[in-house]
Amino acid sequence: MGNIFDFEEKIDIAWCPGCGDYSIRKALLEALQELNLKKEKVVLVSGIGQAAKMPQYINTSFFNGLHGRGLPPATAIKACNPELTVIAVGGDGDMYGEGGNHFLHATRRNPDITLFVHENMVYGLTKGQAAPTSRTGMKTPVQVFGVFEKPLNPIALAISLDVTFVARVFCGDIEQTKDVMKKAILHKGFALVDIFQPCVTFNKINTFKWFKDNTYYLSGDYDPSDRTGAFKKSLEEEPFPLGIIYKSDHRTTFEENISVYKNDNSPLYKREFDIKKLEAEINAKV
């Protein structure tokens, strides 16, 4: 049987041949199907960038908004209708650069949404400038003397913010990518999966081989529930650890903290307005 999240007809995908995004799409399609999610209950949210085109290529509802601004609508969509599975997708520039402030504060609210970040350490859509995660020394048409800035470490950042599901995978391993995606979607609260993804056109340094050579799998006895240990692990670079680095269930979600769901689980759109309450409020001003 075909995957309900895929299109019956052939679709025109704008990614370069050989792009890591194809593997991520494959993993996501399989993850959605294997979780038996109802198609009409899934919403993908993205900003702008090559990664942010993902929603176009999945057969679901989507909100493909502005560059860097995926998380605020994703948070609101989940808050207004907690019955939906809300997945935000973007690239490193989208989520950690332009959208950096929203990333910080979305994690503080802890909505029950999932964030997949395609991390290729370069700007693809704008043709090859540095990303917040570009490694120091990388030369680009703008960073002509090489990147001098310290690359952003999203895993350490997320753990410092107490994001309760923090994982990193490499899209070259579709099985692990899919497995971690499923766990992230099922996780209650904000879940971040940073996905290493080679950009075959604009990043000639961090190639498929480079990611392969500079990553390793966390061992079976690694304990992701220990936040201090996880933070220490998150600081490891070249090689970068792959897997679920931190996971905890001690935080409440945004939706759980919203008063509207205290006594009523129904989404906002289903609720009726009570004019009597309004009249009482107006009359209280007499």
Binding site: G65, P72, A79, N81, L84, N101, H102, V260, V286
Partner: protein, 557 residues
């Protein structure tokens, strides 16, 4: 010699931030309105939490007069600098008298100190005014007991003693005779601020998602809506920045909520890209924009009507929008309510322009009727073939939301096809641009025309918009001329096209705007070709006063 004050009393309280002027305002507003006096108050504040010098004007009158007056009948200075701060206004009528002989020495602090703490001096001052107005002593006691009910007994008693000491001092004053008529109907009026009117209007519009980033003077609406969260099933969230605010609100509408954001000029500037997104994805969106003087940080706690051009042109690309600007509390309530229905119907952003003067002014007004209030929802259940941007006759595509029906609801900031997927097809681009533009024509049919007050057979027409209505109206009434009418606009954009007929009927057209470049006059010129060159403009951060509008109009007639 005694001063007689008849029918209209202007009291100004002045002191430093933290001296409790607002407590006096709160006590007197409820008490005076509750006993049947028409009441109006407005504040001018410095942008600081302590110190500086703030003043609040309280107007108590026999007939409804909710407009700012320059004249001060009674100045209650709670700080040494107060007289210097307001000298210009006191000196309007009787300069020497007020400055020298006019001073009546009431030792607010001395009396308060007798009670053990100078902190009660504001309550003493409130008592003094009650004494001057000869409020019934029992009524005063009951009120104060209720007002301080949540405080502990000691504080309650001290305040009661303080207000009574002030009250007796006021009664004993023979230098001032005040006679203002009370009326029974005022007792059953509402007493509320502009911020309250906007917030109640939003609730009445079915608002169930509000977000913002604190910014004067818009914050009071965010706070009011947050206080309604539990009672009215509203999600209220303070967001990290205004960019997040507007994008969240769009997400909320997408998921089926009715969202409003509240902000001021600087915050709205940050929302420009989100506003443009709203235009592209054809989402409803309510923006309350409480204006303050710019550019940049400007005068953060003061008033201006300087963001009309920003509201008209914010956001890249072409897309329709609606701009409203209430003139009265009633209008603030009704228009905000209606804004939600209009926004949902046409899938366009609706901006509600107020300003510091509007949101912070308080007065009594007849109870808002609710029998004609309808929450119009335009959400449809989707099926498998649903297309969010289906091309229709009037440009409005039925709006589905995710999770309601079997269809995909796809919205995209890129140009898109009917299904909401990215397209670069030129023909589709034209179809979509035309479709968005078509909605403009339908919107025009819903315009609420401007209100015309004063003479029908006018030769002079005074144009104003938004918060200045009560001031300009009172000024024109005060002139008592049969040749003048006031045309007030609360529906700003799209501008009603027949305005030209009203303009042509007058031999003399004057515009009143609380900004420096006559932005509304520019819109009129752009729409009709009619150029208004008699302009009454004010941009020092303060609202117009009735007297100055009278004086300025007289210069033009």
């Amino acid at each position: 010699m005694a001063n007689n004050i008849t029918d209209d009393l202007v009291i100004v309280l002045a002191g430093q931030a933290g001296q409790g002027i607002q407590v006096i305002e709160n006590i007197l507003s409820s008490l005076l309105k509750g006993t049947g006096y028409n009441f109006f108050s407005t504040s001018e504040l410095m942008s600081r939490v302590r110190g500086g010098l703030n003043s609040t004007e309280l107007r108590v009158s026999s007939k409804r007069s909710p407009g700012f007056l320059d004249r001060i009948d009674l100045l209650i200075p709670l700080h040494n600098d107060a007289i210097a701060h307001l000298k210009k206004r006191i000196s309007l009528g009787e300069k020497d008298k007020v400055n020298y002989e006019g001073i009546i020495d009431i030792q607010f602090t001395g009396i308060a100190n007798e009670l053990g703490n100078a902190v009660f001096s504001n309550t003493v001052a409130a008592g003094l005014i009650c004494g001057l107005l000869k409020i019934d002593e029992r009524e005063l006691e009951n009120f104060i007991f209720k007002y301080f009910a949540v405080k502990n007994e000691d504080i309650r008693n001290k305040n009661l003693q303080a207000i009574k000491k002030g009250y007796f001092a006021g009664q004993a004053l023979t230098e001032i005779n005040i006679s203002i008529n009370k009326s029974i109907e005022v007792k059953t009026d509402l007493l509320l601020s502009g911020a309250d009117a906007i917030s109640l209007g939003a609730v009445a519009g079915g608002c169930n998602y509000v977000c913002g980033y604190p910014m004067s003077p818009s914050t009071s609406v965010l706070e009011k809506m947050s206080s309604y969260a539990e009672k009215f099933d509203i999600i209220a969230e303070q967001v990290e920045d205004e960019i997040g605010v507007v994008n969240m609100a769009l997400g909320a509408w997408y998921a089926g909520a009715r969202a409003m954001v509240t902000t001021s000029g600087g915050g709205f500037a940050l929302m420009s890209e989100g506003l443009s997104l709203c235009g592209m994805i054809e989402s409803p969106l309510i923006i309350h924009l409480a204006q303050r003087p710019g550019p940049a940080t400007g005068l953060p706690t003061r008033t201006e009507q300087g963001d009309l051009n920003l509201a008209l042109y914010a956001g890249h690309g072409d897309f329709p929008r609606i701009i409203l600007a209430p003139g009265t509390l009633e209008e603030g309530f009704r228009l905000t309510q209606r804004a939600f229905n209009l926004s949902d119907k046409y899938q366009v952003p609706v901006l509600i322009l107020t300003d510091q003067y509007y949101v912070d002014s308080i007065y009594n007004t007849p109870v808002f009727k609710t029998d004609d209030i309808r929450i119009e929802k335009y959400i449809v259940e989707t099926d498998k073939n649903y297309k969010r941007f289906s091309l229709t006759e009037n440009g409005i595509s039925p709006r589905g939301i995710p999770g309601f029906g079997n269809g995909n609801v796809c919205v995209d900031s890129d140009e898109h096809d009917e299904s909401g997927h990215i397209t670069e097809d030129s023909d589709m681009r034209i179809k979509m641009a035309d479709k968005r533009f078509k909605k403009f024509e339908s919107i025009k049919k819903d315009i609420s025309p401007a209100t015309l007050t004063g003479s029908d057979n006018y030769t002079t027409l005074v144009i104003c918009w938004g918060s200045t209505f009560n001031i300009v109206n009172e000024a024109v009434e005060g002139l008592g001329s049969k040749d003048i009418a006031v045309m007030h606009f609360s529906w700003i954009f799209p501008l009603q096209e027949n305005i030209i007929e009203y303009l042509n009927k007058a031999s003399n057209v004057i515009i009143v705007e609380n900004n420096s470049s006559a932005q509304f006059a520019m819109l009129i010129k752009q729409t009709t070709g009619y150029s208004i060159d008699k302009k009454i403009l004010k941009y020092n951060g303060l609202p117009f006063s009735v007297e100055e509008v009278m004086k300025e109009i007289q210069k033009f007639i």
